[in-house]
Symmetry: C2
Subunit: 409 residues, 2 copies
C-alpha cells in the first residue's frame, strides 16, 4: 500500500468550500487504495491575524507565547479537515504538534524539526484512520509549542513523509513551479520536473511556492515531492515534480528566474583585513538570527583594510545595524553605510556552471534595459544581481527572455 | 503567601485594551504580595466563531474534533495574556489543558474534570512565574483535547483554586450577582453575599453569571469564591461573595429571580403507571445527554396509566423526541405531545422552606398580571414556574417586586 502525505496550504483550506474541495481530493486518493496522511496550514490570513493580536501585546518580546498564539491557526484547520473527512464517512483524526511528537530545536518563531516520532501517526494509519497533522508546529525542549517559520507547514509535510517513507504532494494555489512569477511575466512556463538543488535555490532566491528548508530536507531524506494545484480539476496532469538532477531529461541552462524585493545593502568601510574582524561581525549577526546574503569584499582606500558589503532583508536592517554598532567597534570599521530600495533578481539552473556565456547573456540583457547592477553573487547553480526595486519587473522579463524561457507563442 | 486564582471571562479579554486592563489587575494583585494564577476564557465571540466553522463541517458529528477547534480560543487568549504580563515586566507562562494536566471524563463538548495535577502550575508559582491557564479545556482518556461545556472556564478556575488551596476571583462584565437580570428589572440589586446553594440554584435556573458546576465544585471543595467586575475601578469594593449559608447575616426569604427562555414541554400521555416505563424513557434521554427539567406526573384518563410531562431546552426538543420515539414504544404511551414558546421563571432563596406564604405570594403576583402557570416545580430553596416566553419580563418584574427585592428609590 503506497503511502502519501498530502499537504494543503492556506488558500486550499481558506474557506469552508475550499476545505470541502481539499477533503474531496483526500477522499479520491484514499479511494485509490493509498494510505493517506494529511498536513494542513492555517486558513489563509489566519496567521497574519494571530500575529497582529500577539503584536499588540509586545509579541516580539515573548516569542514563545507568540508561538502558542500562532499554533492555534493550524490546530483549527487540522480539526476542521478531520471533521470534514469524517462527514464524508472517512475515519480521520487531528494530530497537533505535541500529539505527533514533533520535537524542535532552535529559536521560537523559526524552530527546526529535530525529531519526529511517526509511531502515533503510523498507529492511526494502521487502523485505517487518516491522520490530519497540524503543520508549522512542534514542541521545544521545554515541552511548549513552537513554530517552524513561514512556510513551515511544507517542512512538517516533508518531515512526516520522510518518517513514513511516503510520497509528498504539496497542494497550493498554483499548479506547479514556474520559470518565473506569472504575475510579472505572463509567458512564464510551468516546469514539469526540477532538481532538488534548483528548487532549493529558487526558493532561497525568492520563489514562494516551496520553502527552502523543505526542498533541503526532501533532498537529504530522498522524499519524492510534487507541487500541485488544489484548484485544478486534474492536478495529476499538472504540477511539478522535484527529483534528483539525473532524472531530469530536459537539458536547459537556466530553469527559472526568481526575485526578492525590499533588500538592503550594508557596507562596512575600512575594516581590518584580518579575517577575525569579519568573523566577529558575521558571528554577531548570526547570533541575532539575521540572515545575510550576497557578501562581497572589496579593496578599501586605506592600506591594511578592506570594504565588506552584504545584503539583508529590509525589515532586518535596523536590527542588523544595531548588532553591527556593538560588534563592529572591535573590527574598527572606518564607516558604516547602508542603502535601501533594492531588489535581488536571480537566475537558477543546473546547467549554469557548464556554460561560459551565461554571465555575458546576463549583463547584455540588463544593459539593454539600462538596469544598473550594484552587486553580483554567484554559486554553482545561480547568479544573483542586486538592482533597484523599481526595475524588478523589467529585469525579470529581460532575463526570462534572454535565457530562452518564454513560452512559445 | 496567599494564593489567588483570577479568572477573566470573554469580555474581560475581548480586545487588546481589555487584555491590558485585566493584566493591570493581575499586576495589582501580584504587587500585594499574593501568588497569582490566571485562568482565561476565549476572547468574546471567538467560541461562537469557531463553533460556526466546525458546524460547517458537520461539527456535531465529530464532537472530539469540534473540541480541538474550540480549545484554540482559550489557547490564544492565554498566550496573549502571558505576553501582556511579560510586556509589563512580570514573569508569566501560558498553560494549555494538556500542559496543566487537566484530565477529563464524559462526553466531548461537556466533559467534566476528573483530575487536575497542580504540580506544573505550582512549580511555576514557586519560581515567581504567573501561570496563565487556558480555561474550558482539558484532555480526555485518549490524550486528546476536550472542552467542559459553556461557562467551563469558571470550572477550570475553581478546580485550579481547589488544587492550589487558593481564593478564586471570577472577573466578568457585571459587578456581581444580582437579584435578577438588570436588563429586565432596573431595580435589581447586587447581592453582596450569597450561599453556595442559592448560587447553584440561580445558575441552574438560568442566571448566567456563574456556571452551575462551578458553584457545586466550590461548595464541595470549600473554595472561597468572589464574582467581580473587571470593568469597575475598584472591584474589591463591589462584587458578590459566595460563601457558606451560615456566614450570611442578612435574613431574606428570596435571594433572586432567574429565568430561562426557550424551553419546550413534552408530554407522554397514557404511560403505564409502573415506574419501569418512566425509567426507560428518562434513562434513554440521559444516555443521549439530554438534560430534562420540571418533571410532573399526573392523572391520565385511562386506568392503570399516568401522564408524564417534563421540560427540555428548546434546542434539544427534536433530539429528545427522537429518543422518545425509539424508547417510548416500550412504555406504551398513548400519545406524545409537545409545546414550545415557553420560559421558566424561578425564585431562589434559602428562606423559602421556612415560609408558608411563599407560594401564595407567587400565585398572587402572577395572577395580578394574568400570567398563566403551565407547570410548577419546587425544591427546598427554589420554585420554578413554566409560562409563555412572551411573559418573561412581566413575570420577573412582578416576582422581584412581590418578594421585596426592588432597590429602594
Amino acid at each position: 500500500m503506497e503511502r502519501v502525505v498530502m499537504k494543503f496550504g492556506g488558500t486550499s483550506v481558506g474557506t469552508s468550500d475550499r476545505i470541502r474541495a481539499s477533503a474531496a481530493r483526500v477522499a479520491d486518493e484514499a479511494a485509490k487504495g493509498h494510505a493517506v496522511a494529511v498536513v494542513v496550514s492555517a486558513m489563509a490570513g489566519e496567521t497574519d491575524r494571530l500575529l497582529e493580536l500577539a503584536g499588540a501585546h509586545g509579541g516580539a518580546l515573548g516569542q514563545v507565547e507568540t508561538d502558542v498564539v500562532l499554533t492555534a491557526g493550524e490546530q483549527v484547520s487540522a480539526a476542521l479537515m478531520a471533521l470534514e473527512l469524517g462527514a464524508r464517512g472517512l475515519k480521520a483524526q487531528s494530530f497537533l504538534g505535541w500529539q505527533a511528537r514533533i520535537e524542535t530545536q532552535g529559536p521560537p518563531g523559526s524552530s527546526r524539526i529535530s525529531a519526529l516520532d511517526a509511531a502515533p501517526v503510523l498507529a492511526a494509519l494502521e487502523q485505517g484512520i487518516i491522520p490530519v497533522m497540524a503543520g508549522y508546529q512542534g514542541i521545544g525542549p521545554d515541552n511548549r509549542l513552537r513554530t517552524l517559520g513561514r512556510g513551515g507547514s511544507d517542512l512538517s509535510a516533508v518531515a512526516l513523509a520522510a518518517a513514513l517513507g511516503a510520497r509528498c504532494d504539496i497542494y497550493t494555489d498554483v499548479d506547479g513551479v514556474y520559470t518565473t512569477d506569472p504575475r510579472i511575466e505572463p509567458r512564464a512556463r510551468r516546469i514539469p520536473a526540477i532538481s532538488y538543488d534548483e528548487m532549493l535555490e529558487l526558493a532561497a532566491q525568492g520563489a514562494k511556492v516551496l520553502q527552502t528548508r523543505s526542498a533541503e530536507m526532501a533532498k537529504a531524506r530522498g522524499v519524492r515531492l510534487r507541487v500541485l494545484s488544489s484548484f485544478s480539476n486534474d492536478p495529476d496532469a499538472e504540477g511539478t515534480e522535484v527529483v534528483d538532477a539525473d532524472l531530469i531529461s530536459e537539458r536547459r541552462i537556466v530553469s527559472g528566474v526568481a526575485y526578492a524585493r525590499d533588500q538592503a545593502r550594508i557596507g562596512l568601510l575600512g575594516v581590518s583585513d584580518q579575517p577575525q574582524a569579519a568573523a566577529e561581525v558575521f558571528g554577531a549577526l548570526a547570533d541575532a538570527e539575521i540572515g545575510i546574503d550576497m557578501i562581497v569584499q572589496g579593496r578599501s582606500r586605506d592600506a591594511g583594510t578592506v570594504n565588506i558589503e552584504f545584503t539583508v532583508d529590509r525589515r532586518d536592517l535596523h536590527a542588523a545595524l544595531d548588532v553591527i554598532d556593538s560588534a563592529a567597534s572591535g573590527s574598527g570599521a572606518r564607516d558604516i553605510v547602508h542603502e535601501t530600495g533594492l531588489a535581488k533578481v536571480s537566475i537558477v539552473g543546473i546547467g549554469l556552471n557548464r556554460r561560459a556565456d551565461v554571465a555575458r547573456i546576463l549583463f547584455r540583457a540588463l544593459g539593454e534595459k539600462n538596469i544598473a547592477v550594484k552587486v553580483i553573487a554567484t554559486s554553482e547553480i545561480k547568479i544573483s544581481v542586486l538592482i533597484a526595486n523599481e526595475s524588478v519587473e523589467l529585469a525579470v522579463r529581460a532575463l526570462h527572455s534572454a535565457y530562452g524561457l518564454d513560452a512559445a507563442g
